[in-house]
Symmetry: D2
Amino acid sequence: MLNRVILIGRPTRDPILKYTPSGVAVTTFTLAVDRPFKSESGEREADFIPVVTWRQLAETCANYLRKGRLTAVEGRIQVRNYENSEGKRVYVTEIIADNVRFLESSKSNSNGHQKDDPFQDDGTPIDIDENLPF
Amino acid sequence: MLNRVILIGRPTRDPILKYTPSGVAVTTFTLAVDRPFKSESGEREADFIPVVTWRQLAETCANYLRKGRLTAVEGRIQVRNYENSEGKRVYVTEIIADNVRFLESSKSNSNGHQKDDPFQDDGTPIDIDENLPF
Amino acid sequence: MLNRVILIGRPTRDPILKYTPSGVAVTTFTLAVDRPFKSESGEREADFIPVVTWRQLAETCANYLRKGRLTAVEGRIQVRNYENSEGKRVYVTEIIADNVRFLESSKSNSNGHQKDDPFQDDGTPIDIDENLPF
Amino acid sequence: MLNRVILIGRPTRDPILKYTPSGVAVTTFTLAVDRPFKSESGEREADFIPVVTWRQLAETCANYLRKGRLTAVEGRIQVRNYENSEGKRVYVTEIIADNVRFLESSKSNSNGHQKDDPFQDDGTPIDIDENLPF
DNA sequence: TTTT
DNA sequence: TTTT
């Protein structure tokens, strides 16, 4: 009924832009989010959280999102499940993002604003295609 | 670096209170969160999101959380992975809650307040025990 | 750059639907949000937070939002300022909501769903009219 | 009943650390948060949002927070009111922060982590002193 | 495996 | 000015 996630972290790699059979743009990446405390053995730990973006926001992420650059993600948690090749049910948890902010864009200009950074809110109903098991 | 989740939904069953070997209380439940749009076939859909609570909050959830009752959950996303019996790496995504609100408590009194509802914020560093593969 | 607010509380009165000169629907109400701790003197306290909704969401709130009913609000903080009749600058802080959930709708049917509850996300850019000092 | 705010912006000036009569540390600053769209006249606009931090987090902000540096703030909205010298009721809206992240700390080391950055969550109940009209 |  |  309400489902909101906000993350700040760093993509583990550059994103890859794909298209669904019906031509909808989709970009997937994993965000490494440092935990606010150390593990038992004193190491810094992180959660590696899969993020999916659609349509205009997917294109923007393909253009601006870069491995290792600090990034803020807003969206909702989605839990999909499907049957794998061995007939077992597999659960996949992803963030479906509707807002992404590039906090360390290499394309920032001198006053700190991102150039050519379109309005990134994507409030239209989510396409059915997003449930495809990429 | 920042990791915040807010959900409103309904537990799919009553929670069960367990204790770690070191005696720390832990409660797990699944929250069914309706999606804000219908599926291709016109059905309402939901995400089924695992939630874990620890210590005092675990005890409170065991006492107040009930199957089907509207519930708000605040916390962070955690992604664990472990090797299963077949030697395969399995990823588990859960919400580690630090705040739970019982929006339809059956134990509310006539003026709408929850009785015996202690301060529910649990801001202390998370115990190492939480990484046990329950 | 990122501005997100999530509240659960109760409207202090029924909302009133107005229209801007250009015909845009706008609804304003105050949400009473109980604080999670008691005051020095042991009393429950609340924050009284002004909320503004626009367009379709304003119409939906006029239809469903009711005084005293538990309500969830998602949006962003906006700080306006204007000069009052004595020439003094006055600051007004409001939540511009883009999602409102009626958690205790009196119009719920027997299986708990809200009837005629349209998709409430309103992700379009905010109209200039919202800066009018209502 | 639930009250959560997450902001990313830039402090308009260096913070100043003060102490209440009872010796509790408090730091106040204003966060400039760019709006995601331009004004009617095509200008970028921002909301200027007052933020208050207490105790350990106040000390950390005094040490690390700097004017103009990108900063993430988590907390809750508080609406105070008091009578001013002319006997008029004045409303003050502030974010009481319980988590602050310095996204552009000048004290970051080469791998991007903040040095000497203590655990910043401050989950203890808020002190009565915070209601003093600073 | 699932809530209303 | 305030909700339960």
